[in-house]
């Protein structure tokens, strides 16, 4: 496991609020980026390592958020219990859906996940008695973590940063584990993986459930942080944006996914100054990055850097004991 990079990243995440405790951009936008990172890292396990496209991931995000929202406001459940309930619901649904959906391939799979996402969104909008309808639910009580109530932007930054680091750590562990290797085998060639004796269906199901759990977890945190949820945050556009984050950062790279999430979140905030030109620039940037760095920002820049360093005579020797690297799947090193 690439520990050096992870610790470096963690140090940066901890350092930022200490240097800029009152900066809106760092604390509030940073927290938002952190949540997106958790979502992207979870989605990356599905898209990057298992090679399954999902255009409905926002649905699981929404499930976690609404579970927390509904159970704490209408039934008075404690926050942590509601969070667990959200995880349970999302995980169960993912497990039930996995078998039939994951039989599909490519664009058909994309469509099926898209359809699932739309159905969940429609229910969130229409089932007004439960979900508060299009105007959502407000007044969600603050999250209580065994005595400590999380209140204020700085505290939320801390909680989300910790959750994000946990998610990245889990993902890195998973990728390097037996399950991770099985997944990459599946991504490379499902048939070959089956021939090797890997139960591909169960591997794919498991990663689907895990990525759903990541999303639901992020959803619950989101609900308490905002004290408000509405269906607008869980629609198709959000699902597409999540996939964009994963691909932008670099498929099959945990840090890439986190990178893409943070980059895109910052970009959206930064572009706001352009007002009416925001959409135009946003689209142009997306196209430009994908055209010139088709492997994604993180992976692409990493490669460029490594090539540059090697040309200058620096850089590491190729690690001969790298883990299984199947065709077409990158196994990137630590962040540059």
């Amino acid at each position: 496991m690439r520990l050096a990079g992870f610790y470096g990243f963690a140090a940066l995440v901890v350092l930022l609020p200490l240097l800029f405790p009152n900066d809106y951009f760092v604390i509030v936008v940073g927290a938002s980026a952190g949540l997106h990172a958790i979502l992207a890292v979870g989605l990356n396990l599905l898209v990057g390592y298992a090679g399954q496209i999902s255009l409905g991931h926002a649905a699981f995000f929404g499930m976690g958020a609404y579970a927390s929202a509904i159970l704490t406001t209408r039934f008075g459940w404690p926050g942590l219990l509601a969070l667990l309930a959200g995880l349970l619901v999302a995980g169960l649904l993912a497990w039930l859906l996995a078998r039939p959906i994951l039989r599909l391939r490519g664009h058909y799979l994309a469509m099926a996940t898209l359809g699932f996402g739309v159905i969940v969104h429609v229910i969130l909008v229409q089932a007004t008695d439960w979900t508060g309808g299009p105007d959502g639910l407000s007044g969600i009580p603050p999250l209580n973590l065994s005595g400590w109530t999380v209140e204020g932007d700085l505290q939320w930054y801390g909680v989300i940063a910790a959750a994000m680091l946990l998610a990245i750590w889990l993902s890195l562990n998973l990728v390097d584990s037996q399950i991770g290797r099985a997944l990459r085998a599946v991504h490379g060639s499902e048939f070959a993986a089956q021939m090797m004796g890997i139960d591909t269906a169960s591997a794919k199901t498991r990663v689907f459930v895990v990525s759903a759990l990541f999303a639901a977890f992020a959803g619950s945190l989101f609900a308490h942080q905002q004290a408000f949820v509405s269906p607008d945050s869980f629609n198709l556009a959000v699902s597409v944006e999540l996939v964009t984050m994963v691909v932008l950062g670099g498929i099959a790279s945990t840090f890439g996914a986190a990178c893409g999430a943070i980059a895109l979140t910052l970009l959206r905030q930064g572009l706001v100054v352009f007002e009416d030109y925001e959409m135009l620039i946003h689209g142009a940037l997306l196209m430009a990055v994908m055209i010139f760095l088709p492997q994604g920002l993180f992976v692409g820049l990493g490669q460029a850097l490594r090539t540059g360093l090697r040309r200058c005579g620096l850089g590491r020797r190729r690690d001969r004991h790298r883990s299984l690297s199947t065709a077409g799947v990158q196994d990137p090193g630590s962040p540059p």
Binding site: S138, Q226, F228, S230, D276, E278
Partner: protein, 381 residues
């Protein structure tokens, strides 16, 4: 020598103190506006921002308010409630505004209320939902009529025409749904029976299926509580199906673009509207008339056709400015108290009389029933 030293010292101290006072008095008044400038509700935020900019420029040109210039900080929520929360946080924490005007939609407004209450900053909302001020929230006020008033106006007009069975058709937006809730809630009070209750998606291109069902019911009138392009589609589809029942719209369509898009089908459609659109038809003795005409003239000379949503922004700004003048400074708690004491302020939406229990200060008289006739608005008696 010593007395001379003391004299110069005290003179210096006095100058310093005086200078500080002047410096703080020179601090601009910062107003934060979070509006929907893009997205499906952009037709709300756009005239609102233009109105704010125009009148703030005017006030600054005349020397500002309490001797200080007004600085407007605006932020686009895109109609996304989460973005509204981010906007408000930025306005409060980074831009350090003294007062908030916005959101353009009920959804945006409700989403930011926790943050506003935590920051203890007054908020004047430009949205219509009754839940914004009912139950009353200490720091939250609003300027447009509530959707409950709109529904009351529609039902009163129906009773006058002897129609009691209505069919509802609403969209999936927040405005639509809270209007629908009010329609259900007030129906028994006016003796109205709801015999059909259809919904559509705000992006839908065709509502003939829902209208066919309404046609087959025994409804005597149709109420479409919607916003955006959908009500125009509903109106045209109703004509296409040959439905001759009276069609009522909400104040969400008080705009020239609705008349243009609905075309000939809009003839005879009735809706509650702020008096702004029929300002010329008001009797001269009406105290609102001069204010309305002045606003209309100024907006139209600068930007084009006037919109009632811009009028709400005008009201919000005027209430805020009057409160600042009465308070003498921009201490947030003092400002809030003065806003609550707004009385007799003639605005575009009506005459405002706020109380601790009533944070909108309008009554249903401020709404007028109008009818679309020959492509323009006609005030109904």
């Amino acid at each position: 020598m010593r007395s001379g030293w003391w004299r110069s010292m005290s003179a210096a101290a006095l100058l310093l103190w005086g200078g500080l006072q002047v410096a703080s008095a020179m601090e601009p008044i910062r107003i934060g506006a979070f509006l929907t400038l893009t997205g499906p509700s952009a037709s709300l935020g756009d005239p609102e921002l233009k109105t704010l900019r125009s009148y703030i420029a005017d006030l600054n040109a005349k020397g500002g308010v309490i001797g200080r210039t007004i600085e407007l900080h605006d932020c686009d929520t895109g109609g996304n409630a989460q973005q509204a929360i981010a906007c408000v946080k930025r306005l409060i924490e980074q831009d350090r505004v003294d007062l908030l005007i916005g959101g353009s939609t009920t959804g945006d407004t409700m989403a930011v209320i926790p943050a506003v209450e935590q920051a203890r900053i007054p908020l004047i909302s430009l949205a219509g939902g009754i839940e914004i001020i009912d139950p009353v929230k200490h720091w939250v006020f609003k300027t447009p009529h509530t959707d409950r008033m709109a529904v009351a106006k529609i039902y009163a007009n129906l009773r006058k025409r002897g129609l009691t069975k209505v069919a509802l058709i609403t969209g999936d937006g927040g405005f639509d749904q809270s209007g629908r809730a009010q329609l259900h809630q007030l129906a028994p009070q006016y003796g109205i029976a709801i015999v059909a209750d259809e919904t559509y998606g705000n992006q839908d291109a065709d509502m003939t299926a829902q209208l066919a069902r309404i046609k087959a019911s025994n409804a005597q009138a149709i109420i479409n509580f919607g916003f955006g392009q959908a009500p125009a589609v509903v109106t045209r589809d109703a004509k296409q199906l040959g439905i001759t029942l009276p069609l009522y719209q909400s104040h969400g369509v008080v705009s020239q673009s609705f008349i243009e898009q609905a075309g000939a089908a809009a003839e005879g459609v009735r809706l509650p509207a702020a008096a702004l659109v029929v300002a010329e038809q008001l009797p001269d003795a009406n105290p609102q008339k001069p204010v309305l005409l002045a606003y209309k003239r100024r907006y139209e000379s600068q930007y084009g056709p006037v919109s009632t949503f811009g009028g709400h922004a005008y009201d919000g700004l005027m209430i805020a400015v009057a409160a600042i003048r009465r308070a003498g400074d921009v201490d947030k708690a003092k400002l809030r108290d003065e806003i609550e004491r707004t009385s007799g302020l003639i605005g575009v939406a009506g005459v405002f009389e706020m109380t601790p229990e009533d944070h909108v200060g309008l009554n249903a008289d401020a709404f007028r029933m109008v009818e679309i006739h020959n492509g323009s608005w006609r005030l109904l008696p």
